[in-house]
Amino acid sequence: MTPITKRYEVSGDDFTHAGEASGKVKTLLKQIGYHPDAIRRIAIAMYEGEINMVIHANGGFANVDIYPDRVEILLEDTGPGIEDVDKAMEEGYSTAPDEVRALGFGAGMGLPNIKKYTDDMRIESAVGVGTKVYMTIKGQ
């Protein structure tokens, strides 16, 4: 089955528009009548990842493949990378500076939220090279 495939550029210096790609995906899934419970989980997980690319990695790309039974998302950036992925996955762990906290982010809850709302998640990251976050959400 060929998926519906979308690719979005996520700008790194535009906090105001951060989340636009996730909003578009959510709207599209609603339009095609995707499983309602999955839509919400997809939107939240992708939004957390999209925000992370903006605040930690100066932007990147979001690739979304929509299958009837699942949605696969790859968020890729060429930012600073994550030194200790296990640590980054811990609830409350954040390297966000105070300016980011003042914007309502930096609770260290984003990656744990992605884990919670997806059926599968994987991070590939190399310091100085970038980060790839893969996630799969089942359609039911």
């Binding site: 925000i51 309502g104 609770a107």
Partner: protein, 116 residues
């Protein structure tokens, strides 16, 4: 609780609201968006002191249909536009977070967790 009752309890100013009969079942108070994103419930309302477009986006992702800004905070025109587009009601109350949440809780609105 209906939106009109929320407005009364919080002595709130209505910035944007089409349907005062909107049913609010639970609420969440937070200035950290990922905290709110960890909390997903149907027909919830978000109380926050955070005023930037990501407040609206967070509500969009969570299917939240009403945001209450505490401490008399007011969103800018761009945020109001974003909220209107997404059918999200906006209120502003002069109460602080603790008081606003307390008033709603006392009026019968739950927190949506198992222990409430």
């Amino acid at each position: 609780m209906k939106l009109r009752e929320v407005i009364e309890v919080l002595k709130a100013e209505v910035i944007n609201a089409d349907n005062l009969d909107l049913e609010i079942v639970t609420a969440c108070g937070s200035d950290m968006m990922s905290d709110a994103l960890a909390f997903v419930k149907d027909q919830a309302m978000l109380l926050t002191g955070l005023v930037n477009p990501q407040t609206i986006r967070t509500a969009e992702m969570l299917d939240i249909h009403c945001i209450v800004f505490v401490r008399g905070k007011m969103p800018g025109a761009d945020m109001i536009e974003l909220a209107k587009d997404r059918d999200i009601a906006l209120l502003s109350t002069g109460y602080r977070m603790f008081t606003a949440c307390g008033r709603l809780y006392a009026a019968g609105l739950g927190g949506g967790c198992d222990e409430n």
